[in-house]
Subunit: 87 residues, 2 copies
């Protein structure tokens, strides 16, 4: 399964969430991640994310596609994850 | 065609970009939009976005799926766009 994950989360919790998501997915922009993931790993990720998040303030959206090829990605401007690799 | 659009853009240009994207898509979180769009309208949106963006600083990612049903969306935490509708 291929997913896109985006979060909107309080500043105090951002770095924890970033670290968590990087363990499972590829960071592509700001608070956006993508990658192949199994059902089991996604469950793990969601449980861990729930522990970090404040349910009444934070938001996490997951888009699932059965296969990556069903999603075509286009990047306009700079590729932030390439910059990130240099840091 | 169904798209997910995410941007990471300099603060000075954010409000312009937000206004532009809202004209074509549904705002779902922070800098994330989704919706059905035609090829022609997407081209229009990209041309307008390019005028707002600084190519060396800003980034815009578009994920396209031929049909919405191929993407399953799950929201954890709050639905920011519902809050937005009340504002």
């Amino acid at each position: 399964m291929y997913i896109i994950l985006v979060y909107d989360i309080g500043e105090k919790r951002v770095s924890k969430m970033l670290r968590l998501c990087r363990k499972y997915l590829n960071w592509i922009q700001n608070s956006v991640f993508e990658g192949e993931i199994t059902e089991v790993k996604l469950k793990e990720l969601k449980i861990a994310a729930n522990k970090i998040m404040k349910a009444e303030e934070d938001s996490l959206i997951i888009f699932r596609s059965r296969e990556e090829k069903w999603l075509k990605k286009e990047i306009i401007g700079i590729e932030k994850n390439e910059i990130d690799n240099f840091l």
